[in-house]
């Protein structure tokens, strides 16, 4: 593999130079001054370019190949969005500039919020949360503020399905709630009877994803929302799977009181290798008084941000107003697709998933064999039993085919799970290719399992030792 940039260091080598300082020297007391220079890499510009070009070769993005990661919605990231987000009028603005000096930004944020309310069927949005998990935490604080304002302080519990993403219970804990898990039924939806058994006046909220993490739309959703409301609780929508239903259905209509969106999933903003994302939160009007400081609101005389004077607000979730440049990309996407394109995108996301599921159903058992939404889960439990080849092994073998493996071992309720989400931007040929590869690998698992166990063959490293990494952590460069 490649050298670390520190290993390319040559003393006194430099890339960028600055002009000589044109103002006098200043001597600070020694006690404040750094004792020795940081051992940052000393490299030339050519070194830097070659280094990162090499690192880019050992990276794999949607732009490189198929990325059917269930629950991540790895759709194509339009290049137009990048140009929009790099316009100087957006990038070179200090966040403490007066709103009157940036009417373009204000208009964009307002229109984005309005578009999101329309898409989700909610009443208002805050663009502040930096990611999905941040949005969840925000939403739970909103719920808690609501109950507090209604002097309803015995509500200490939040219900979370056992199929939920880990951020759901973690966010609930951060808001000081106790988490109660509710099981799924045989159709992959929430077990309504089990839910009724845990619903009482101690429940603050139920958190749901719909379609759920198995890629299935819960047909009981309106009933579920009604049951929670009946005991005085609120219903939270994890919007990670919104890509299945844009233009066809809306969480606001299903009875949800608060939703978060993942702009880096549904709205095409790039994942960046793990961030930055953006997790705007939408609310019904009952929760508007509690929106965080740093949310843009429109009043009679103009726009302002919610601040300390808004005493019901849950407070500030982060500095400033959100991942603005990510929000610019999402807005650009919404304008490009429009109401027709957004609906078509979701429909094709669902079509592509069903197409693949249908093509694979005779190869691997589908965990919940019914028309799926934008993703589906197959189980390799039987394969493992009969050949010792696990879902992980299949994923390792896939690495040699210039495609990213699907999500493995999630959701936890399916054994040897692979969750596949092609998204709408994938072509039929690309999907057919993946299907064929999976079929070939299954055959290989029976014919010559060792070939799979020895995979991958073509990656720069092979079967990385995670155990050692955790047991003996080396978390930074070890200088000689």
């Amino acid at each position: 593999m490649s050298q670390l940039i520190f290993e390319r260091s040559v003393p006194f080598r430099r890339a960028v130079r600055f002009d000589t300082c044109d103002v006098p020297e200043v001597k600070l007391d020694e006690k404040y001054v750094r004792l020795s220079k940081a051992r940052l890499p000393e490299v030339s510009e050519v070194d830097i370019v070659r280094h990162y070009m090499e690192l880019s070769r050992y990276s794999f993005g949607v732009d490189n190949g198929f990325y059917p990661l269930g629950s991540c919605t790895m759709k194509y990231n339009p290049k137009l969005n990048e140009f929009a987000a790099s316009l100087e009028g957006f990038t070179s603005i200090h966040p403490d500039q007066a709103l009157s000096s940036i009417p373009g930004t204000v208009e964009l944020m307002d229109k984005l919020s309005l578009s999101l309310t329309e898409i989700t069927g909610m009443d208002a949005f805050t663009l502040q949360p930096a990611a999905g998990a941040h949005g969840e935490f925000t939403g739970l604080l909103l719920i808690r503020a609501y109950h507090k304002a209604h002097n309803d302080n015995k509500r200490t519990k939040v219900i979370v399905p056992d199929s939920s993403h880990g951020t759901n219970p973690a966010s609930a804990s951060m808001a000081g709630y106790t988490v109660v898990s509710v099981p799924s039924n045989n159709e992959g939806g929430v077990d309504v009877e089990a839910l009724k058994a845990v619903l009482n006046d101690e429940v603050a909220a139920l958190m749901l994803t719909n379609p759920n993490t198995l890629g299935l739309f819960d047909p009981n959703i309106s009933e579920i929302a009604r049951l929670v409301h009946e005991v005085g609780g609120l219903v939270y929508y994890d919007g990670a799977n919104l890509n299945a239903i844009m233009g066809t259905a809306r969480p606001g209509d299903m009875g949800f009181d608060v939703v978060h969106l993942n702009l880096h999933k549904t709205f095409s903003t790039p994942h960046g290798g793990g961030g930055p994302g953006s997790g705007p939160v939408g609310v019904k009007s009952c929760l508007v008084p509690y929106l965080p400081q740093g949310t843009l609101i429109k009043e009679a005389y103009g726009y302002r941000y919610i601040d300390e004077r808004d005493t019901l607000s849950i407070g500030r979730m982060r500095s400033y107003y959100g991942n603005f440049l990510v929000n610019v990309r999402a807005y650009t996407y919404i304008l490009s697709l429009g109401c027709d394109g957004l609906k078509s995108a979701s429909q094709n996301a669902v079509l592509n998933a069903n197409y693949m599921m249908n093509a694979l159903k005779d190869t691997f058992p589908v965990a919940y064999p019914q028309t799926c939404m934008h993703e589906f889960v197959i189980s390799l439990a039987q394969l493992k039993k009969e050949t010792e080849i696990s879902a992980k092994d299949i994923c390792k073998a896939l690495l040699d085919y210039q495609m990213h493996p699907p999500t493995m071992y999630f959701p936890l309720i399916v054994h040897e799970a692979l969750m596949i989400e092609p998204t709408e931007t994938e072509s039929k040929e690309s999907m057919d290719n993946f299907i064929q590869v999976l079929k070939d690998l299954k055959q290989l698992a029976y014919d010559d399992p060792q070939k799979i166990l020895n995979a991958p063959y073509t990656t720069p490293v092979k079967r990385v030792d995670d155990v050692q990494a955790a047991r003996n952590p080396i978390l930074k460069y070890q200088f000689k």
């Binding site: 103002v23 880019s56 880990g166 407070g315 493996p405 930074k476």
Partner: protein
């Protein structure tokens, strides 16, 4: 309309046939039909790329972009090298997912490892995570790193960025954590008040250094007081200043956090930014978020992987100390590239030049009749009490395309200088203000 679909309508029809359906609408046949929207979303129809870009250009051109920026408070205008802009845009980095599949993602993993290493170097710390959303949430997350069963008090001086403190309070509002103010004297931490409040119930003192007013704190002295009661010291800092200033580690700090936007990231109207968190080795298992570690593969080759994942939400669920899932990977990559581009000498220069410009500017303002509000040493930011109202200063400078310092009250301003401010810019500002005062 741009919809970025590859499959043509004909292909869609063919695929529908294969799964036994006649239309796209039928894909939703199992949904409760009363939830199906009967009319299109009330949004405009999709538009061409040409049209959309025109709209975005119009919006951005309505905004005022200042040529000279004297406003900081944690978000700064520094020069971003072209090599950083170019390389951080590479599609392999931009369009990649979190590097959970190590064999396929050694490039991303290595870049995060390099970021962690660089941040450890400039802070003097042993470990650094792969980043969190921003400096303010880093401060909030750091609270979880220090609290113990019997230590639930967090001390916060009044000279920390108010937004940072605000986020710390928001994050802990329902948790058994008490945030207590520490008074300041002449803009810096009041040692007497600190001593009176720092006891066995204290988990940590958070300080900002250089602080919100730009002043330098006596961190060593503070760390002695704090550690004598068994509490930890957390320093919130602008990493750019660490090119010149003593490392948090050398000052006895346990956890260094802050906003790393000044390292190659544009001001971006507030985001996406980069929250960094670095700590001493004993605290590694309490660090939230992702961390990349070095290991080997089955052939003994060096490899990188996400590690210590048992801390995180996807493993611990409700027992995780933080729900954080994503990091700010692309911003961390950008900062790492920036640090490599400027190198140790360059970072020192950026830091030192910023400091010298600020001092020159402050001295010129004082000659005009402005007063420095605080008497102690400062770095690249300072607060003035001015003979003019801030609204006048802002307007007058706006007219010459200068964004004035941050208004703290009717006559108090927090000014910031970076290496991008030329002497002639400062002279121009001073001369204009002189005209108005006279």
């Amino acid at each position: 309309m741009a919809d970025y679909l590859s499959n043509t309508p004909d292909q869609q029809v063919q695929m529908l046939k294969e799964i036994g359906l006649n239309s796209l609408e039928e894909l939703y046949a199992n949904l409760p039909q009363d939830l199906i929207l009967q009319k299109p979303l009330n949004l405009a129809l999709g538009q061409s790329e040409f049209s959309v870009f025109d709209t975005l250009k119009d919006l951005s051109s309505k905004n005022k972009v200042y040529k000279t920026i004297l406003r900081g408070a944690g978000v700064e205008h520094h020069y971003i090298p072209s090599v950083v802009k170019q390389l951080s845009n590479r599609e392999e980095f931009v369009s990649a997912y979190t590097p959970y599949q190590s064999e396929l993602s050694q490039g991303i993993l290595q870049s995060i490892f390099e970021y962690q290493s660089s941040m450890c170097e400039i802070t003097g710390m042993d470990v650094c995570n792969a980043s969190v959303y921003d400096g303010a949430t880093a401060a909030a997350e750091a609270i979880q790193m220090v609290i113990e069963k019997n230590r639930r008090k967090i001390l916060v001086p009044k000279n920390i960025h108010p937004q940072v403190v605000s986020v710390m309070r928001t994050y802990t509002q329902w948790l058994n954590v008490e945030i207590v103010d520490v008074e300041c004297r002449d803009g810096v931490v009041d040692m007497d008040d600190l001593k009176s409040k720092c006891d066995d119930n204290c988990a940590a003192l958070f300080i900002q250094h250089p602080n919100y007013f730009g002043l330098l704190e006596d961190v060593m002295d503070i760390s002695q007081v704090v550690h004598s009661t068994g509490a930890k010291l957390v320093q919130y800092t602008n990493p750019m200043t660490l090119g010149y200033l003593k490392t948090p580690r050398a000052n006895g700090v346990d956890i260094a956090i802050g906003e790393a936007q000044p390292l190659g990231i544009p001001m971006s109207y507030g985001g996406p930014f980069l929250g960094f968190m670095a700590a001493s080795a004993d605290l590694v298992r309490r660090l939230p978020g992702r961390i990349v570690g070095q290991t080997v593969d089955e052939n003994g080759k060096r490899a990188f992987t996400l590690t210590l994942q048992a801390r995180e939400q996807h493993i611990r669920r409700e027992k995780a100390s933080s729900s954080i899932c994503s990091n700010q990977a692309l911003m961390a990559l950008t900062a790492s590239m920036y640090l490599a581009s400027v190198g140790p000498s360059g970072l020192k220069e950026v830091s030192e030049h910023s400091m010298r410009k600020a001092h020159y500017f402050a001295n010129e303002l004082v000659k005009l009749g402005f007063k420095l509000k605080y008497s102690g040493p400062y770095f690249h930011e300072f607060v003035t009490v001015s003979p003019l109202e801030n609204t006048v200063i802002e307007r007058v400078l706006d007219e010459i395309n200068v964004l004035s310092g941050l208004s703290l009250s009717s006559h108090e301003t927090l000014w910031c200088c970076t290496e991008t401010i030329k002497k002639e810019d400062i002279d121009r500002v001073v001369n204009r203000l002189k005209e108005v005062i006279v």
